[in-house]
């Protein structure tokens, strides 16, 4: 797949992660050559383990061609003037440097299998994908613009929870994005989410599970409370499968578990059903 120009442009700072030529699969221990791993969509060729994936890498595997980013200009402020071992602005600067991202989500518009859609992709590499004011604002801007353009929306989630350093401003993003989701869906627009490893806390308890169709990647850890918190509460070790995508499928929480290489296909098919449904409604109303 040729790399689109916008992707190369945004990727620059990401390259230091490629410095390590080999990655060890945390599941089966296989040493994987990093270029092969990337070519295999960051899935272990031996055991199928799904590595966490960068937002721009993800976008390049989902959209057909161009991707028009929106909300990139929205940047964090430091409302609580937080400083513990490090100041919050210093933490942000460090993550920007390391990840090549301006914040924990990349939002924009593109075509998926020929169907235009809004697309937001969270990235765990930036502050653990925590939900803060920028993530909340970008999701809201995306949904508002998608609503204006009457386009369906796909959100890929990856989040360790709420961003402590933004305190209640972070928590309020659940309310803000819920308001945006509710308006968007209330007008009859469809929302699809793809939950990737990990999807927990505030993101899990808002748009991740407010969608019309909820898809998850194999092995992804998904839940409200973190594993550690539960183990401390109940004072015993949890089974390995607990809170995995497969566990949630069995428990009826999610619609499907889909391997990374099929996710674009399934999204395109959902968009096709939606397009056919919309067309049918339009014809019936004539």
């Amino acid at each position: 797949m040729p790399m689109p120009e916008w992707l190369n442009r945004r990727r620059g700072k990401n390259d230091d992660r490629d410095a390590a030529q080999w990655s060890k699969c945390p599941n089966c221990g296989e040493m994987l050559y990093r270029r092969d791993l990337a070519a295999n969509l960051y899935v272990c060729s031996r055991c199928g383990y799904h590595f966490r994936m960068g937002a721009y890498d993800r976008i390049s595997t989902i959209v057909d061609g161009d991707f028009t980013e929106i909300g990139a200009e929205v940047r964090s402020s430091d409302p609580l003037l937080w400083s513990d071992r490090k100041s919050y602005p210093a933490k942000l600067a460090g993550d920007r440097e390391r990840s090549g991202l301006s914040e924990g989500i990349v939002c924009g518009f593109g075509e998926i299998g020929g169907y235009e859609a809004a697309l937001g992709v969270m990235d765990f590499h930036f502050r653990g994908g925590t939900m803060g004011t920028v993530v909340g604002e970008r999701v809201t801007l995306l949904l508002e613009e998608a609503r204006r353009r009457r386009l369906p929306c796909v959100l890929f989630t990856a989040s360790g929870g709420a961003r402590m350093e933004e305190g209640m401003f972070a928590l309020m993003q659940l309310a803000k994005t819920t308001a945006a989701v509710t308006r968007f869906m209330g007008d009859g627009n469809l929302l699809f989410t793809v939950l990737t490893d990990p999807t927990t806390g505030g993101v899990s308890a808002s748009f991740a599970f407010q969608a019309d169709v909820v898809i998850a990647e194999p092995g992804a850890m998904i839940g409200f409370a973190g594993r550690r918190v539960i183990e401390q509460t109940i004072r015993q070790r949890l089974p390995d499968r607990f809170q995995t995508a497969e566990f949630l499928l069995e428990k009826g929480h999610i619609d499907m578990v889909v391997e990374r290489r099929h996710i674009k296909d399934i999204l395109a098919r959902l968009l096709e059903y939606a397009a056919k449904g919309a067309q049918r409604l339009q014809e019936a109303s004539r």
Binding site: E73, R75, S76, S77, P79, L80, W82, D84, R85, Y88, A90, L92, A93, R96, T133, V134, G136, E137, T140, G161, A162, R163, M164, E166, G167, M168, F169, L171, M172, Q173, L174, A175, K176, T178, A179, V181, T182, R183, G202, S204, A205, S206, F207, A208, F209, Q210, I222, G223, F224, A225, R228, V229, I230, T233, I234, L238, F242, K251, G252, H253
Partner: protein, 323 residues
Amino acid sequence: MNPFAEREKALLELERRIGELRAATADQPTDMSSEIAALESRYQEILRDVYGRPTAWQRVHIARHPDRPTALEYITALDRFDELHGDRYYRDDQAVVGGLGLLRGRAIMAIGQQRGRDTKENLRRNFGMVAPEGYRKVRRLALLASRFGVPIVTFIDTKGADPGISSEEHAQSEAIAQSLVAFTNARVPIVAAVVGEGGSGGALALGIADRVIMLENSTYSVASPEGCAAILWADASKAEEAAEHLKLTAQDLMRYGIIDEVVPEPLGGANRDPNAVVARVLERVDAALTALERLTPSELLTARYEKYRRMGAWGERAPAVGG
């Protein structure tokens, strides 16, 4: 043991002695008024010393005080209350109490997190930590309020959503997410009162409101101080430090525009005069409802959207941080 309850013991001892002296004075001709005055002055001094300007961490303890009025104190102080139970699916979660009632002649849907007032009730109420069944009850009652056309009044008091195995198995995330949707969509006025601890998404699930009021010593935060310390520094014992960082006091949140009103408590906390505090909160809820009542459903929904749309600090509205 709650450190505030410990410190109160000195005060209670003084109170007892003042009371005894007063009783003695009434019976006997001896003039004890100067002794009484001295004790009372000392009493006030300790009061100010102990409670005058509590730190954030001290407020966390006031908010958790075992004698602080719980949601049920507010609910039973309504003119009338008819409790409604259950999620219609699996269980009646008693960490949530909800139902229809009358507040100063006005029909309302009251919903509160109930942490319990003694060990037995604590267990039955799961310390006010709500399970998915409870959030589904909340959601159902919020939808029902719109059907009745009556405003929603919530009393928030929880450390956070229940973090147990079965809560995860029963889709805690989905339950909270859908409760948020129900409050966002409710076509009736919503007033939320943070009367104790407001912990994380588990509190916000009852907290999307047209007007949010908070007792002076209540706390409301993105995570409990212990949870925050565990997340950031893998050390829950640094909770006090986290409490100061989190800006979880009513005063801070008022300044940030995240809440709309601070309701004063007596010196020493709501536990020192529960009835007065309950009455004052209900009075402020009533005032908020009176103001909101004039709005049509669509005006309400628009105003609610705009309110939460503004929550955050970025772009032109706030100086960007770093590069």
